[in-house]
Structures are given as structure tokens and as C-alpha cells.
Symmetry: C3
Subunit: 155 residues, 3 copies
Amino acid sequence: MSGEVEARLRAAGIELPDAPAPAANYVPYVISGNQVFVSGQVPWAGGERGHIGRLGEDLSVEQGQAAAKVVALNIIAQVKAACGGDLDRVARCVKLGGFVNCTPDFKEHPQVINGASDLMVEVFGDAGRHARFAVGAAALPFNVAVEIDAVFELN
Amino acid sequence: MSGEVEARLRAAGIELPDAPAPAANYVPYVISGNQVFVSGQVPWAGGERGHIGRLGEDLSVEQGQAAAKVVALNIIAQVKAACGGDLDRVARCVKLGGFVNCTPDFKEHPQVINGASDLMVEVFGDAGRHARFAVGAAALPFNVAVEIDAVFELN
Amino acid sequence: MSGEVEARLRAAGIELPDAPAPAANYVPYVISGNQVFVSGQVPWAGGERGHIGRLGEDLSVEQGQAAAKVVALNIIAQVKAACGGDLDRVARCVKLGGFVNCTPDFKEHPQVINGASDLMVEVFGDAGRHARFAVGAAALPFNVAVEIDAVFELN
């Protein structure tokens, strides 16, 4: 079964970004027991700094979903680093904490964060089905559209 | 001691709602080791879609507390499902993460989230005493007043 | 090695405040397995109720960092209580959840929360290096500048 998740990534045409370095004095993930706590990730990958702006004002729900998908790719890249490169060690995506940069009248946070949730299930199958919250943030670092942190369980 | 928590629910005249289905592609709870991570719940129960609006504008603190109580009932309903129906397996309500939909000048987040905290202690006794945060959200899904996620520990 | 963290606190001239009592019906921390979940702390210590206001409007980034440092001191004070007074039992600062009270155009959340992150590394060394998120809150209790919750792992 080795490389099962990597095979699924290839089949879906998904290339993981390099695991991003944190923007400040903290680390991208911490392993505690068999849980991995992943720092809040932003939707930047491969040096490209897009997905800027607020939902309900600058960006459509579809654009928000695209941002959430890039965030999820970064989360998976961090988990891969935490696993020593072997994503088959992921027992479960336990939780996503989803923050959407939005105006006060925005209501479609679940749809936006689905961009990340759908990718977890696509990549990890049933092990990708997670608990989560999806809420509105008054503002986010660098004015990015979405920030998500995560807890995973490893074998 | 079987049925102790259910007896307390009956004594308090509290009827648990059906565990709500998630609004998107995720699951209502995930069990990791002996911890249950409950997805962010909203204040809707039994098909009724109330508790809409923002604190500091549309809703009073008392209305916010009533919303938080319904959210807490939904959290307990999810935990009951995670326990296979036996709430006596709850060792501890470990943490509540409380988001209040509010205006920028609102300051009474603790009082609002008390509507949930008080219920946890009423239902679980000392095992219901939890860590928590209570913060303001720029907006929440469907414009609900309160969203809360939770971590429980099971025996 | 007994008292190693306390020695580091003394060397840095840091005096821990009394562990603050919660503002409502919950507890300052819960121990679950070998993890400690610390309730969201605010930047009040020793009876002084400062660090009020919003980033991007009332307070500079430097003032926000100072608030985050006081919050971190309160978190460490709670962890010390959870350890029965022996901070050398801290195996790891696992995660900080950082909420910054800010205007919609504020973008420097990481710099603000660094006030807490830097202190964790100063006090705990490598064990203080943590996962975290840093996001904007629409409002915070009592209009404080920063609220942070935490997960620690104990030996």
C-alpha cells in the first residue's frame, strides 16, 4: 500500500507545493503524541502571492474556494514534512479551523472552506473527512482571502 | 451509574435535538484517541432557523445567550452520537471555541458564550467545566449569532 | 535540571503574574491526557486593565506586541498552575491561537502575535517553538487588543 496517497495525488494531477516557511517566529507544525498541529496556512504557493482580498467585496465565492484549495495544498505539504515524506502515515484529517476574510454581510463561509474540505477527501479518501469550523475574520495577514489551521492524526 | 447524564437532562427539562447534519463536505465530529473534535455548530435545532443577526446591532446579550445555549445543545447531541448514545462516557468537556457575530464595538463576548458554558456545567457537572475562548467574528455562516466548536474527552 | 525554566525567567527579568481567574463560568485550563488546554487569555496582569483598543486605529504594532507579551505571561502563569508549579514539566508549547482586535484593513497580525511567540521561545527554548494561527477579530472582550489560547504538552 506504500505511496497510496501519492498515487492519488498524481491521478488527480495535483502537485504539492514546497512546505511554506512561517512568516514569523514559530514553526509550521508541531507533533504532540500522534497528533500533528499545523500552523495557519495562507493561499500562497511557489512564490506566487495571489488570493488577496475580502469575500463579499473583492472576491467571489468561487475565488474564495480557489484560495481555500491552495491553503489545503500547503497544509498537506506541511503534513508530508511532518510524516517524513510518507503521506500514507496519515490516519485522519481530524480538524480544519477555517477563517474567511470577509465583509460583515458575508454568509457563505461554508462554501468557501469547502475548497479545502473537498481536497482533503479527494486526497485522503475517508481519512480526509474532518471536523471543522468556518467563520469570518475581520482581517487576515497580508489581506489574504483565507487562513486555515489543522490537526491531523498519524499512524 | 448508567444514564446519569440523561437523568440530569430530564431533571432539567432539556430535550436534545437530533444531531444536525453538516452544511458542507465535512463530518459533525471526529474521534482521535480518546478526544472528540466537534465541528462548529450553529443555533439551529429541529428545523427552526432562528438566532439570526449580530450582537451590538440586531440582538441583545440575552438573545445571544439563548443562541449559545441552542448551539451547546447541538454540541451535546453530536457528542452523544460520538458516544454511541451513552453520554456517561463523557470524561470531560475539554474546550469550547466561541465565535460571536458582532459589531466592532461589542465587548460582552464572555456573557454571550456563558449561555453555552452554563449548560455544559448543568448537564455534565464538574466534567462540564472547560477551557474556552470567546471572540468576535466579522460574520458567521447564514448570519447566525453564534458558532462554537468543541473538544471532549471520552472514557 | 530542576527549576531550569524558572532560572531562565529570572535571568530574563520576567516575573509571572498571578494566574488570572476566568471572566465567566469556565476554567482557566483543562488537562486532557498529557495536553493542557489553556483558555483564551487577555492582556491584563496584576490588576492593571490596559492594552485596550484596536490595531489599525488606536494602537501601533509595537503596542499590540506588548499586549501579546502580557497575554503570553498569563498563559505561562496558567500552565505553571497546571504543572503544580513546576514549569520544567513543559514538554512543548504545542499551539497558540492568536486573535487580534483590528480594523478591516489591518494586515500585520503575525508581527503582533510575535510578541507572544518570542516570549515562548525565550522562556522555554526549543520547547517553546509552536504551531499557531494569527487572525483578525471583529471585536474582543472588554475591547482588549489581543486574545490568545494555547495547547501545551506536559511530561
